[in-house]
Symmetry: C2
Amino acid sequence: MTDRTAVLDRVLHLATLVQADLGRFEREHGLTTSRVHLLWVLGASGPSTQQSLAAALDVTPRNVTGLVDGLVASGHVTRQPHPGDRRATLVTPTELGTRTIDDLVSSHADLAQQLFGDVPDDRLAAFAEVLEETTQRFARLMEEGT
Amino acid sequence: MTDRTAVLDRVLHLATLVQADLGRFEREHGLTTSRVHLLWVLGASGPSTQQSLAAALDVTPRNVTGLVDGLVASGHVTRQPHPGDRRATLVTPTELGTRTIDDLVSSHADLAQQLFGDVPDDRLAAFAEVLEETTQRFARLMEEGT
DNA sequence: CCTACATCGTGAAGTAGATTCACGACATGA
DNA sequence: TCATGTCGTGAATCTACTTCACGATGTAGG
């Protein structure tokens, strides 16, 4: 009889540790969690309007204004005019911003390798399967709960 | 060839979803993440000084003062004199606070059951094993990094 | 063309979490 | 009793985040 709650606690614990590792990255680069998150989205989506960033980060557009202000001040991004819509601005990474995003991506990959590199492929596949099923079960529960 | 980074992303994704579920709890009870976290610690440790809460939450004692102020105002905890140390106060859950903590614990257990209840014991055990190994590998890395 | 209406970003004002620094009240050991 | 450390909090400050209002711009419909 395996304790389901204990398993959930372990998942949460691991996530907490990974987040703490992200804290190290933030301190090294003089950034905050929210700003790193924005840079991450920017790296995944390319230059974006603040509206789309707000949607991706699940915060209000007004909040994105503040985050971008900070990243402009620290030299990580610039606001470029949007070709074809003079209302919008394209938040675009600078050279420094691009380097930071690359660092972020590679340190993320490094961490994954350090964590799971020694786990044999078959066991990792089984692990990922349970993870996938659980996540999908969760998604179904959320929809019902709405 | 399994992609380690993808597995890490899934772990993080699941943790994000679980955290979103916690948000539901917070809205239902008119609480915030930090205050729920404090109540959780209080439930696990029993009446505590603000110093020990600060250590458990990994925040400054000054911050705990503010969180406890809020929870006193909402009627979830009271400040009791510490027997044997007149400097310290024992943050103690009220009836409402105790009910809230019980709700929190049981909704956490319910969630674990909904997520992992349908996973067969043997597969779940294998899942938990990988999780455990990974967490311990992480702990070793953190110590070296210090 | 021009009038509605919607969208994009931002100023203003406010809340919560969190920090550092300073300080008074109390504990403790020499 | 005297020095030193600990416990909680006032004051000031920062970031993140929200709602509301508004000016500037885009997009149809008549």
